[in-house]
């Protein structure tokens, strides 16, 4: 298992620059998730790592050895593709054993590995079937199995769950998480789904327009996003953003916007005191609200719809003209159409620069 280092890796398709130079280090044995909206360059990054795409500049190092000129097969990688990419004319056993057969592994060893991985993934009874005879979920497992029999140093996953229905996706996500803990390998996983990223990643790399916005553990990204994009991308339901202005009153800093006036938490006071631009954006997670206005700072919201999700309900509300999502326990219901004063935990309030989106 190598440590993988991207050193100023660039990629252009013709005159279109998909990746500006990026630097990235994937530690040995880590499960790294590249996440971002479509077109952010995450798949290109993975394909460059796999050797399926050449790079236009920079270099990739595996344990210090440059590998950008190596063929995919020389990189000791296995990959799971979004559309599974099974060989339609081979049966499942042949699909899974193709790489081993090319490598001229002994037949007994091949059979043993295929059986073992087949059992592990619950597809041992399908080994004689053709891919066309399998359902979507089964094909997904075969694609996973084909990578796993390889015993490669690095496993690459290119949105492997995106073609499955919601229920199956959840199930496979759990299985992947279990697998991650039992297999001590480098894994690089690309997805546009932040839930997948949060549940699977040891470390998450958030990308947008080819640029790495932030990398860190799921908790770091959730608790201390560096900018408005990361804050809005990570977390479900997404963070609310309200335009406002920093004002000073009664010797304290406040943020004032359409329909709200909220004090800034104590430890952020000194940091924000020097903010050159007073035009900011307040970020509040739906979970930072309470139904009890005496806790934290009060805010008046007009409840439009209430979505019941079991233990929790998500309320779509209005603060002035802005929409605000609020997550509350279903035990204390607030009827749709009613105005209500909620409390905001000011410690959770995040302030972003309105022009640059950078967190202040």
């Amino acid at each position: 298992m190598p440590e993988i280092v991207f050193d100023k890796v660039e990629k252009s398709f013709g005159s279109v620059k998909v990746l500006p130079p990026i630097d990235l280090t994937l530690a040995d044995g880590e499960f790294t998730v590249l996440v971002g909206p479509s077109g952010c360059g995450k798949s290109t990054t993975l394909r460059i790592l796999a050797g399926l795409e050449s790079l236009s500049g920079g270099e990739i190092y595996f344990d210090g050895t440059p590998i950008s000129r190596l063929e995919p097969k020389e990189r000791d990688i296995a990959m799971v593709f979004q559309d599974y990419a099974l060989y339609p004319h081979m049966n499942i056993a042949q699909n899974m054993s193709f790489a081993l057969r090319l490598a001229k592994a002994p037949k007994a060893e091949i059979d043993e590995k295929v059986q073992r991985v087949g059992k592990m993934l619950g597809i041992a009874h399908l080994l004689n079937r053709k891919p066309a005879e399998l359902s979507g979920g089964q094909r997904q497992r075969v694609a996973m199995g084909r990578a796993l029999v390889r015993d490669a140093g690095t496993f690459l996953f290119d949105e492997p769950l995106s073609n499955l229905d919601a229920k199956l996706r959840g199930k496979m996500r759990t299985e992947l998480a279990e697998m991650r803990d039992s297999i001590d390998k480098n894994m690089v996983y690309v997805t546009h789904d932040q839930v997948e990223a949060m549940t699977l990643g040891d470390r998450i790399v958030v990308m947008k327009d080819g640029i790495i916005q932030q990398q860190g553990t799921p908790e770091e990204l959730f608790k201390s996003p560096v900018n408005q994009f990361v804050a809005g991308f990570i977390g479900s339901p997404p963070m609310n953003f309200l335009e406002g202005e920093l004002i000073e009153e009664k010797g304290k800093l406040w943020i004032r916007g359409e329909g709200f006036l909220v004090p800034i938490a104590k430890d952020a006071q000194s940091r924000l005191q020097d903010a050159s631009d007073r035009k900011v954006i307040a970020g509040i997670r739906p979970s930072s609200f309470t139904t009890d206005p005496t806790i934290g700072a009060p805010i008046d919201l007009q409840v439009i719809v209430s979505e019941y999700l079991g233990a929790l309900s998500v309320l779509a509300t209005k603060c002035g003209e802005n929409e605000v999502l609020v997550e509350v326990p279903s035990a204390s219901p607030i009827p749709s159409g009613a105005a209500h004063t909620f409390g905001i935990n000011t410690e959770d309030l995040m302030i972003f620069d309105r022009a640059s989106g950078v967190r202040l």
Partner: protein, 303 residues
Amino acid sequence: MKTATLNRLTPYIFMAPAALIMIIALLYPLGYMIYGSFRAWDPSQTLSETEFVGLKNYISLLNDPNFHESLAVTLKFAFVVVSIEMVLGVGLALLLDRNIRGMSILRTLFILPMMIAPVVVGLMWRYMYHPTVGTFNRFLKSIGLDGVDWLGQHALMSVIIADIWQWTPFIFILSLAALQSLPSSALEASRIDGATGWQQIWHIKLPLMMPVLIVTCLLRLIDAFKVLEVILVMTEGGPGLSTEILALRISRTATEFRELGTAAAMSNYLLILLMLLTASMFAYTKFQEARAARLAAHAKEDD
């Protein structure tokens, strides 16, 4: 008439004109030929004046060494040209299936021969094969070698070369289309799995192209059995009977030997041969469809 009956008849009424034209255009000449094949038929007679001879035309053909020879030449010609064209066409497609600058021009050049009228191709090659002023012999002589008797002793080989030149592009173009519609991710997966270029061709590309290749091969065989103009222009079947393919023998039997009944019987033998090939092509396509349906049904069961 009741409305229900009328409704049921409507589709047939609509189809009737087209069906009638089909019958006149297709079945009438065919029936005419089959009818004629059972009669002693001279071109000076109308068909109704001719004498019914039963299977005599068919049987005498079976004992006719010239017909045997012609059939043998046809089979040899068809199988040799199609085998070589398949190898060359598929090979070229594998070679040119890449996005390099100028490749599209090269591809267009490769398919030009197919666009030329067969008579022109025949004339062209006949002049190039000319023993004294032809391109090939002049070249051979310029490098100090003896000329080759292209359209004499080696006539069959020479017409085979001309046919390969003209029809390899057909296989090339269909193979290239098949190659370019292969699932690209399966090819990428095989690269990750460690396949070299050759292994990719052998284990992934060719097996996946196979349905297209089989149909292409059958189409070319059907065509090769019917070839006429190129050989007519180049050798007129000679020297001797060495390049007298079946279509040529049929036309000579009808025009030179004035035996329309025999020519019709010979045509029917060729027709049977072609129908067998066509039937096997349709059977293969049916088989593929049935297989795909069976696999898909299997997948549903488990979903």
